[in-house]
Assembly symmetry: C2
Homo-oligomer: 670 residues x 2
Amino acid sequence: MAQTSDRPASAGPAHQLDGDDLASLDALFAPRSVAVIGASDDPKRIGGRPIAYLKERFQGRILPVSQSRAVVQGLPAVPQVTDLEAPPDLAIIAVPARDVVGIARECADFGVRSLLVFTSGFAEASSEGARWQRDLVAVGQAGGMRICGPNCIGQINLPDGAVTTFGSLPDLPAVHGSIGLASQSGAYGLTLFKFARTVDLPIAHVLSTGNECDVDVTDALAWLVQRPEVDVLVGFAEAIREPARLLDVARRARELDKPFLFLKAGTSVAGARAALSHTGSVVGADDVIDAVFRQHGILRPRSSTDIITWSRLLMARRRARGPRVGIVTTSGGVGVLMSDAAEAAGLETPPLPAKDQESLAALLPPFGSPVNPVDCTGQVVNNPGFFAGVLRTVAASADIDVVAVAGLPDTVEAGRLSALTELAAATGKPLVAWAHSRPWVSALAPLGIAVYDDPVAAMRAAGALVRYSAWQPPVAHICEENGERTRLARAVLQQASGGAALLDSEATAVLAAYGIPLAPAMTAADLGAAREAARGLGFPLALKVVSPDVLHKSDAGGVRLGIRDEAGLATAYESILTEVKASRSDVRILGVLVQKMAAPGLELVCGMKRDAQFGPIVAVGLGGVLVEILRETVLRQAPHLVSQAPRPRRAQPLQRPWGQLPSGPRPVPR
Amino acid sequence: MAQTSDRPASAGPAHQLDGDDLASLDALFAPRSVAVIGASDDPKRIGGRPIAYLKERFQGRILPVSQSRAVVQGLPAVPQVTDLEAPPDLAIIAVPARDVVGIARECADFGVRSLLVFTSGFAEASSEGARWQRDLVAVGQAGGMRICGPNCIGQINLPDGAVTTFGSLPDLPAVHGSIGLASQSGAYGLTLFKFARTVDLPIAHVLSTGNECDVDVTDALAWLVQRPEVDVLVGFAEAIREPARLLDVARRARELDKPFLFLKAGTSVAGARAALSHTGSVVGADDVIDAVFRQHGILRPRSSTDIITWSRLLMARRRARGPRVGIVTTSGGVGVLMSDAAEAAGLETPPLPAKDQESLAALLPPFGSPVNPVDCTGQVVNNPGFFAGVLRTVAASADIDVVAVAGLPDTVEAGRLSALTELAAATGKPLVAWAHSRPWVSALAPLGIAVYDDPVAAMRAAGALVRYSAWQPPVAHICEENGERTRLARAVLQQASGGAALLDSEATAVLAAYGIPLAPAMTAADLGAAREAARGLGFPLALKVVSPDVLHKSDAGGVRLGIRDEAGLATAYESILTEVKASRSDVRILGVLVQKMAAPGLELVCGMKRDAQFGPIVAVGLGGVLVEILRETVLRQAPHLVSQAPRPRRAQPLQRPWGQLPSGPRPVPR
């Protein structure tokens, strides 16, 4: 596959996720045999670490290649990759940069299916390295061999035991979770993996892509989304090299009901400058990325903490039917804090229906509150019996979509655990809890209850889940093809004055060609023609200068509104000429547009821009002189990629039925 | 001291932090002798836990009081508090609610200086309990005995080893930090303490106040701020019972250069409803709290995570001279992400000056970037030598106020540690780092470098520090007293029509009394009087209906602007009468205000409201019909509490010189 930056950034009809492509990535991300070229006997060195990790639990063949040793870390080694009995799925290359292309060619000729190049010193380091990188791409293309890297830290694939990174890792966990992470930056990916482990959130895969000479983050995501153990998909990158393919991944994730989070760096002015300096990437307008992600159902975390806290809830595979949270608390103050956080996260905490409040009042101690938050007070310690009843009642309420439990003891105490177990079995609604998380996380994760130390984080995660659950595919109303209109519009454009922008008169002609109604107007070359036009159009009128040199007509004094009679017309005409001529000495004035004043009404703005990544983007919103200040504008990628009739809320059944207990972290196969 | 909710919510001249008050709180929060009434031999029971914790490291006297045992947890016990040799500083009460008042009276009579009442079942539980609570307050007042609680989980004071909580705790840490936390909610405080410990952030004090019958969160904060080991002050509450005293604490914290964070719950509509239901507290308008906190230099975290991540940096006692961050990274992608996060946190990441870029270019490998972020690339692994030089150059740059280091190895490797040690010694600027935090936190905390797993959290913390450092006391320009003006205004008000609001004519008279210039105006009772007024004022004019029944005059058709002549005046006058009469059948029309049209200009709005907690609040901002949409309004508490001339940026020297190494976590005395 060619270097991805050469591919057109099409936003047209969706690409299919290519079956052959994905199969070729299996050799890289889930190999059955791994050669390590430049193998080291020292398990701490770059050529030694992956062998040490693979020995821990990889069930395929580990094939050290070393010119100096016949045995590496207890495994028999061969001097050349071509000395192996058969070509491996994956060859890891940990040799000096100048030797990489030659070895890659040997691998390709031998039939190796994929390369993972640790070595740095390529395009990121020097012009000589850039040339080596181009040669590497050519070798891969010619040999049908996928290449990950160079300058890549490698992969963590816990379900298959295929840990091929040279990064230092804590002990590999005994269980793996259902989160698949793809990160251009290996340092970011590995640090997030370790951060997640310190808070007991298990990540199944970390795929990093380094210089992305062939395989990029979108490829890694496309591979992850179809893995059955992956329930939550996470991407990190500063540049989206294949926008259309990323949207394919998003659609596939939706079809499989797998939440897709993408942390997009380079969103700020400073970040965009840094990205340009880092990789020469133009990061794209942030408001467009925001709109397109929203349109295609991609969640947008803003920090590592967002990724970790949202994933904790999303991996529980529960979905929300609406934004209404029922809070059950033993601490009034924390109930208040969670109510604040819910509102800030776009959620609601409505008072419970009268019927439910009555049931709760019968259970609660005096001075408890049955409204919402439901305040059990500290009495829950003395009388834990009513806790299960309260949870059951709140979870069963027709007005509640998400249940939040605030305040569990420090130890996993049998009464409270059994109440929560009963709750999880009784409802398919999403469940979050606030507590000192250490004792509770592993006890409640298998039940699908996400536990947080920070009550605000619990609500923000619920907010992300509700946004995910509420997403529906956009419905497109694409205008029918109309050759005649297109021909008319093209004719206008061919005769256009050739200025930086269309003249008003030209733009109105293009819009008219498409049948878009406008206030009637005529261009007048002199005051006499303007009077003539006014007689035809009738007062009140607007006058606007026509000039290829004036883009912002009001600023140049080129607009007069509400002209009521012939006298006003003459005054306005002359004053426009005077002011516009004064605004710039060499201004060309082609005439004045005489236009019927539109009746008062709501001012709207409609615009279009062509985004470098996502193609034509349409903006619609409140118009008028305050348009930049009000910022009441929405953006949509055009045409919408989904053009069929609206799908029902859940188009595809979950692989596991809605509300069934998730299976929780799975043991790693040994 | 009376129940605090009875105190007037004065916003007037500042109260002094009362020395006697603080001394009386010493007995509660740093007692030298503690009796436990209702002592239990079981270290897991409510009456047993504090004894077990105190035995660990408390150097004062532990005095169990038990009617059933002569020895409790190995300590001699007495049957009654009056059997003790001398009255203790603090008596903890862990007996049934019905017995509490009687025992409190015994304690007061015996001379006990303070009570901590664990027992629940008071105002939070029943009307009988509320009566007991009132009796308890009376006993405390009569005996000059401070009371904390009832329904209070107790305190953690690590520097004095005075851990008097019945909450379950992890092992007490060997070191304590410099963070002092006061929380109305004991559950919130203890959970935050444990959360902080799991991320290696040491908190020195957790003071909780429960039902706050006497001692409240503001008292606890007032006590904490003057403790020498407390460098960062944190409060959590849903209601601010003593607004003026809270602002005193803020001023004292500023004088001592101790950052003060307050997490205020009850900020949302839902949260306010929950707070009302929880404690009957009216939480106050959130925009006012925001403005007053900002005005008085109180930082406002929104989550537990904010508290923890901000405190980690603030406790390093470094201050920022400005908002400019220099990022030194080994990962380009993370550098971009940090630049984004810096901008979102109100910081800047300017390109370094040319001179500094030249110095860096000489150090960096080819394809590294000297701009900002300064990208060291992965070459730092092969050649760690240049890392120290890069850090030194960035830290010394005149254009940089905060240094952020992204990407440290997983182990505390000598080369990198020595570079960071040198950096910390060479600069007083704030320092943050992104890394897998576990290995680095404790190595770098003593150097004053705050380490984060989440690069975005690092930048948000830096943003909070920069806001703290940039704060300057507000300057007030208080109008001189002017009895004559006040008398005139009062006279107008006494004669006012008595409607729900002042008439336009009355309001203008009040403003005129204070010499505030307004467009000249006269009230006309009929068209003839209006014509007379017009001749006096001159055209163009505005006409506005005068009616006690019409508050929103434009909506009722009661305003005409830009009247240019007598004919227009007559038309406008009649149409106002017609439209206003049509708007409401029983409307009273007292006349029409004839006012000189103001010249076009910038429309501003100025308003005042009386906040229940903080008194008169003035709003100033962009006016016009879009005032609610533009929301370009600032609020200020009036009058400003600080009326002297502007202070220099740093009015008080730090206890330790600026830029000196902080001493880091201190060992607990044993």
